[in-house]
């Protein structure tokens, strides 16, 4: 055992060779110490790392295609915490790449929020995490965000503490107002009897837009949970906005509540727990979840593509 502290390191690389060398070295070193390894990177990179690590079938390494498992960055933390809990005592090594070239602006902000929250969520977890960032291909602001959300940085010059580390301000900057477009359909609600109308409107709109029946049903569930939270916890009324963005349907719920804990919806809970699972499942089912919250109210925006 090398220690019992969680380390969260951004791997800043500029070339494919640097990327492959650093990631393969990380995986091999962990395997030599018999630590379980989770690799969650985009599919093409996954295959390259797998080939580089070699050694045939190694049941000590779990491979996830990040383009599927990390599509919504909000679902990464619970998945990683679950993995670490299942391998407790063996200091799991996580290789997670939530950022890649081609992410939308909203997704990139959500990645930064995720990376900032990793530091809070993994306090006391005995594990290491390495997160690759392409300094040549990614927006420079995303590389700058990685320096703020990771306490340590790795690169060709070696490992160093990040002088820019400031996850709380990185988080606060991304807690920005979410305003529905003027053309969005607005549905105010103030009673539980309205829940059925909200979800039916969402389901009909989703199917009319060409979303599958399954995705439409998922979205009906999510919107019902979000609106139910409004009526149960914020003690008042809310507004649901719906609009199309490209081939995705976006739903946004605004109410007077305040999400005090930014980790809400990212920490696994008991299967029969009464509270705390609505937002967790929202993150699991949607392609992207954005949150703006403060004492004056909360806005949660979810996106569901085809």
């Amino acid at each position: 055992m090398t220690g019992s502290v969680f380390t969260h390191t951004a791997l800043l690389y500029a070339t494919a060779a640097e990327y492959l060398d650093a990631t393969v070295t990380y995986v091999r070193a962990a395997r030599e110490e018999d630590r379980p390894v989770l690799v969650a990177v985009p599919g093409a990179d996954l295959e390259r790392i797998r080939a580089g690590v070699g050694g045939g079938d190694d049941d000590g390494v779990t491979w996830w295609d990040a383009e599927a498992t990390s599509r919504n960055p909000g679902r990464i933390i619970p998945a990683l915490l679950d993995y670490c809990a299942r391998h407790a005592g063996r200091r799991p090594a996580l290789l997670g790449q939530p950022m890649w070239v081609g992410r939308t602006g909203a997704e990139r902000a959500a990645v930064a929020v995720h990376e900032a929250l990793v530091n809070r969520a993994f306090v006391g977890v005995d594990a290491t995490a390495l997160c690759p960032y392409d300094t040549a291909g990614l927006h420079s602001s995303d590389v700058a965000a990685a320096r703020r959300t990771h306490p340590s940085l790795a690169g060709i010059a070696g490992l160093a503490a990040s002088a820019d580390y400031a996850p709380d301000s990185a988080l606060a900057e991304r807690n920005a107002p979410l305003v529905a477009p003027a053309a969005a359909t607005a549905m105010p609600y103030d009673a539980i009897g309205a829940l059925r109308w909200l979800r039916r409107a969402v389901g009909e709109r989703a199917v009319a837009m060409g979303l599958s029946e399954d995705r439409a049903a998922d979205l009906e569930f999510v919107v019902t949970e979000l609106a139910t939270n409004t009526l149960r916890h914020s003690g008042g009324s809310g507004v649901l906005h719906l609009w199309a963005d490209g081939d995705a349907l976006v739903c946004q719920v605004s109410d007077g509540g305040f999400l005090h804990d930014p980790l809400t919806g990212r920490i696994p809970v008991e299967p029969t727990a009464e509270r705390g699972r609505g937002l967790l499942l929202t993150h699991q089912m949607c392609d992207l979840v954005e949150v703006f919250t403060g004492p004056a109210g909360t806005v949660i925006r979810v996106r569901m593509g085809r």
Partner: protein, 264 residues
Amino acid sequence: MKAHAATAADLAPGDHVCWRFGDDDSHREALAGFIDGGRRDNYKIVHYRADLDEPDVPGFGRFVSTPVDVTRPFDADAWIAMLVEVVEQARAEGFAGVRFAGEMAWSRGHLADERLIAYERQINAFYAQTGAIGLCLYDTRRFEPGVLAEIGRVHPDTATADGDGDAPLARLAVTGAPLGVRLTGEFDASNGGCLEPVLADLVPHANGHPLVVDVAALRFADLTAVTALLRAARTVPGGLRILGAEPTLERIVRLCGPAPVVFA
């Protein structure tokens, strides 16, 4: 659902509806529709009145109107046991079943709000098991809005003058062999409190077998409803066997974590 005579007439076996009215005309209309439906379907109709002085509704052979005895403390278990006997006797008399219309104003001054809500919650199992039909008549002039909201949540649906639909939002029916429950319609925060008591009542009778939950006609279940299913799954030694689930329900159950649930 919409509160008018036709919807009261067309209630189906097992329905348990919170029927809100605010004036005497709509009350009379609801009761008349409920009685018409019972006559049409060969049901006995039992009307529990709020007080002795209330004028009798014009009756006929199958119709019984009885004041609730408020001189003695209300015992929900004994009351429901008595209702079971009424259903058995009606069937022995050749009726298809019983339609119960309750003037819930009887509870005012007699039963505390929490106990009334607990009773309405508990009695869901009676309707789901016997196929009797319950019309719980709530005079909005006699109940606080907050209490009415709580009462609504423990009924499969609430009928109001500006409501929608001709059938209750949800229906529950206990099935015999294999033992389980058939869920129809939609369960959300407006009616979800009716589900758990029905499941809890079945758990002791599972005899090591899985409880079968038929969801082929279930259109929607929110997290509270899924949680009720998962709680039941954990308390039944044989777990839950869910029939006819849409992919979304299966996904929600799986995302909630490991549970003794089989999908078929």
